[in-house]
């Protein structure tokens, strides 16, 4: 693991959410809530269209950090609040905001600079189990 790989204000990932991503994630996770896969039903609940699973967004962020520091198993803890939905077609931008000891605070925004997640923190460790 190399925490020297990360720097404050650095963008660590830019991830396009393609049209089929919620369907892929539903199949992989078993979460077939229609809000994620049915655009018309999602609109009936006041959304623009179907939305990506929040847990998929988290996986994208955790994996981006794990990849950046060079060892996914060094990610020990993750916290966030969901503030805006992610739609197919969106671009997710993940940047480092603060680094204090083992805690990395992140900014996760979409292509319009709207926050997707708030209070995003990741704890990383130098000791990784086998």
């Amino acid at each position: 693991m190399n925490r020297d790989n990360i720097a404050i204000n650095e963008k660590i990932a830019e991830i396009e959410i393609d049209k089929y991503r919620p369907i892929y994630y539903a199949a992989a996770s078993g979460d077939f809530n229609p809000l994620h896969i049915d655009p018309e039903l999602a609109q009936s609940f006041g959304l623009k269209r179907n939305i990506l699973h929040g847990l998929c967004t988290i996986a994208l962020v955790v994996d981006a950090v794990g990849s950046k520091i060079g060892n996914p198993a060094a990610v020990k803890k993750f916290k966030c609040r969901f503030v805006s939905p992610v739609y197919p077609g969106d671009m997710i931008n993940i940047s480092i905001k603060e680094i204090e000891d083992s805690i990395v605070e992140l900014e996760v925004i979409n292509q319009d600079n709207n926050k997707i997640l708030d209070k995003v923190s990741v704890h990383i460790s130098n000791t990784v189990p086998d």
């Binding site: 199949a27 996770s29 847990l55 794990g66 020990k76 609040r81 969901f82």
Partner: protein, 145 residues
Amino acid sequence: MLNPSVVGKTYPPMGYDVNVRKIHEYAKATKNPSPIYAVPRYEIDKLPEKLQAPPCFAVVAQSDIFDYILNDKDIGIDYPKMLHGSQEFEFFHPIYSGDHLVTVGKILNIDDKHNFEQLDLELITKNQDNVIVTRGVFTILIRKP
């Protein structure tokens, strides 16, 4: 309305057997950047027998008990009004193909806020060696009318 008397309620363990194919499917679905998972499905047998899963993979093992709990009539969740408010994960130990995972659940808290009710649900997943691999706290919000 959520039933506050369910705070502290626990749910019996549910098991899940991890395999290479599921890890690969999950890694692809979450656009995992690691080259380990980059092989196409038709070359899946080239992956190591003991394949490490991405950190959040435990959600796959937790999905059955998560659904079971959310459908517990004792809690009283109005499903269409449900939102995922916030999330915490602790990753204690990697998950590998071949692992047998067992997840238990517990209602940690129910809170009545101004515009919504809040439910905090804890899911703890252990492997076949009784080692905790992942702890998740799912904060679910139920919009009020």
